[in-house]
């Protein structure tokens, strides 16, 4: 999961990375705490995605009244299904140069990878596309770790001089500590500012923590992550749910089959509204709760259920489907492909409530395609 900016900064700062002086505002009562700060400040909505400035979610405030207005505007607003719960107010920094630096997993070489660039402040994917030669790559062996000389080499390539070189070593080692101690998949500082008075300071950061490691990080809260309310709800039932932009609801079992089902919807010229994987060995309950998410989603015109019962039993799935329909009143058509373990029993349960099943996902999708207008 991706941490909110302020939380990522907090972790890096703990290990010695300098950050602008700032304060978190959760409600209007917190505004008074800003009095001690040096205006103008920058109000930054804590939402976990890029492009906040363009979306009008970052603004400069000159007075305490301005700050209060900004907090009032931002707090409680819902952006891309994500509610703004916190606003970070930061003092300004005089920037001489903006750098990029990150540590990530190297899947191919089964180790870590440090990326650095003089092109800070812009999306690294854009740099990779337009001027890949400006990205410095350093492979780090997970067993041997990161050594100072390696970092000094990167600092040299970035054109850093004097005390900035040692500061850069400090920053990088702090990042490495956060990366390894917090089970991170990515620790990124972008931009890392070289200030006019020669300091290195993290202006924006992106830290992604491995969800599976949360049990050993009691100081990381899921509240500070990029999960939307729906995604958190789905997690409770062991479902993998990702919201997409289309209008055909999808539920399937297994990540691969669910993706294949999305692709099939597209193949028929339609747009998937979600990725919903009820998992291998899904229970009646998880199917029920999953389908309820789709049936109560206003964007969805019709639902495609694609189940291949291996470990998953088709009768369990059928019971879950019926359960959801009993709890949610809907006129969305549902097209169910049911195949595999206990297929007969499952089909019987669905026929009793007047639901048809299909032999293949293609047949179900074809029927769906005829039933809805684009």
């Amino acid at each position: 999961m991706r941490l909110l900016e302020y939380k990522g900064k907090e972790l890096l700062n703990k290990y010695g990375v300098k950050i602008p002086r700032g304060a978190i505002v959760k409600s209007l009562e917190d505004i008074q705490t800003l009095k001690a700060m040096k205006f103008p400040l920058f109000a930054k909505s804590q939402v976990p995605f890029a492009g906040r400035a363009k979306m009008g979610l970052v603004r400069r405030v000159d007075t305490i009244n301005d700050a209060e207005n900004a907090a009032r505007d931002y707090l409680g607003k819902v952006i891309q299904d994500y509610p703004i719960r916190k606003v970070l107010f930061e003092e300004g920094v005089n920037v001489a140069k903006e750098l990029y630096i990150s540590i990530t997993l190297d899947r191919e070489n089964r180790g870590y990878l440090m990326l650095a660039s003089t092109e800070g402040g812009i999306d690294i994917e854009e740099v990779a596309r337009k001027s890949p030669e400006k990205i410095i790559r350093l492979y780090i062996d997970d067993y041997e770790g990161l050594r100072d000389y390696m970092i000094r080499g990167v600092a040299q390539k970035l054109g850093l001089e004097g005390s900035a070189v040692q500061d850069f070593v400090t920053v990088t080692k702090a990042m490495y500590r956060v990366f390894t101690e917090y089970d991170a998949e990515l620790v990124e500082i972008n931009p890392l500012a070289l200030t006019t008075d020669g300091q290195l300071m993290a202006l924006d950061v992106k830290v992604m923590i491995d969800d599976n490691s949360l049990y050993r990080h009691s100081d990381i809260s899921i509240e500070d992550s990029d999960y939307t309310t729906e995604e958190l709800e789905a997690r409770k039932y062991g479902l993998h749910y990702v919201e997409l932009t289309g209008y055909v609801g999808i539920m399937a079992n297994g990540a691969g089959l669910t993706m294949a089902t999305m692709d099939l919807v597209k193949e028929f010229g339609h747009e998937p509204a979600d990725f919903l994987d009820v998992g291998g060995g899904a229970s009646e309950d998880s199917v029920k709760e999953g389908l309820k998410i789709l049936l109560t989603d206003d964007r969805i015109k019709a639902v495609l259920v694609n189940i291949f019962g291996g470990i998953t039993r088709c009768d369990e799935v059928a019971k879950g489907v019926v359960g959801a329909l009993n709890e949610v009143k809907t006129n969305k058509p549902i097209f169910i492909r049911l195949k595999g373990t206990n297929e007969e029993e499952g089909r019987k349960i669905l026929t009793e409530v007047g639901l048809k099943t299909y032999e293949t996902a293609e047949e179900a999708m074809e029927a769906l395609s005829k039933a809805i207008t684009r």
Partner: protein, 294 residues
């Protein structure tokens, strides 16, 4: 004999986490399939039996009593799974299949690198395991799907999708030599290319099916290797996730397009450049294979 890969009639299995719900259930299913499940381990439960299988406190105890154990399958919960992997490796077991889902990725990175240094093959984590139909199954793949042995080797990053494709192949009268589910995590013990190399060496496998998905560069690396001419057997592929948006994780932790790497287009292009046909839907795999068999 050297027929099929990774598991066969000589496979003698130890189940780590055998007293847990999943461990005991799948020990039973494996026995029913005909797998030689000879021992189990759960710390503190030594002396008990599960489905008639003797349980030991440690892997070392199990090996002392039953020295011909050559494979371990791990069902231990994620928080303790890494410890079990090291225990199996240090006891000298050379094939370790990790079914457990949600193992922290930094743990997996360390034990996978350790296994490579020790010459141990790890399959998984977060995988359905391996089956050589009618011979042996070390995994959780459904027994009733794997009823026919034959010339097709399958390597896959997905579980259910693999069952589906195997089912259709078997329905069409085409059996499988070995089916390997390598797992959906970003760091795994054995990747697609390594399994394809094993299939190339296996006299029984004549055709290879690769089931990939978005994320990482395994498929691209396989394509490059095929391009070098070292794989002589026909390979066909299916890649899921064509419609997945970048930066979003699609169920499997490894199924994510990031830093411009791992896109559907890049994988399909890599395969097409080396004349590996890519099916548009999972069922199309059967048609593609039939063209070669004909």
């Amino acid at each position: 004999m050297g027929m099929a890969i990774l598991v066969n009639e000589n496979t003698k299995v130890l189940v780590q986490g055998i007293t847990g719900r999943e461990g005991s259930r799948h020990a039973q299913y494996m026995l029913q399939y005909g797998t030689k499940v000879v021992a189990g381990v759960t710390p503190g439960r030594g002396g008990q039996t599960v489905q008639g299988i003797p349980v030991f406190d440690t892997v070392e105890d199990a090996l002392r009593k039953i020295p011909d154990i050559n494979t371990s399958i791990i069902f231990v919960p994620a928080q303790f799974a890494a410890d079990s992997v090291y225990e199996a490796i240090d006891a000298g077991i050379k094939l370790v299949v990790i079914i457990t889902e949600h193992i922290p990725i930094h743990d997996a990175l360390r034990f996978v690198n350790y296994s490579k240094r020790k010459g141990v093959t790890i399959i998984g984590p977060n995988c359905p395991g391996v089956v050589s139909p009618l011979r042996s199954k070390v995994g959780i793949l459904p027994n009733h799907i794997y009823t026919r042995s034959g010339p097709v080797g399958i390597v896959s990053r997905s579980g259910t999708l693999t069952y589906e494709i195997s089912y259709h192949l078997t329905q069409a009268g085409i059996g499988q030599s070995t089916v390997v589910g390598i797992g959906g995590d970003p760091i795994i013990g054995t990747d697609t290319l390594e399994v394809v190399k094993m299939f190339e060496e296996d006299p029984e496998t004549r055709y290879i099916v690769v089931i990939g998905e978005i994320g990482g560069t395994m498929e691209e690396r396989l394509a490059k290797y095929i391009g070098s001419g070292k794989i002589t057997k026909p390979v066909v592929a299916y890649i899921s996730g064509r419609t997945a948006p970048p930066g979003k994780r699609m169920g499997h932790a490894g199924a994510i397009v990031s830093m411009g790497m791992g896109s559907y287009e890049s994988k399909v292009k890599a395969f097409q450049e080396v004349n590996v046909p890519v099916a548009r839907t999972p069922t199309e795999i059967v048609k593609l294979i039939k063209q070669y068999i004909r």
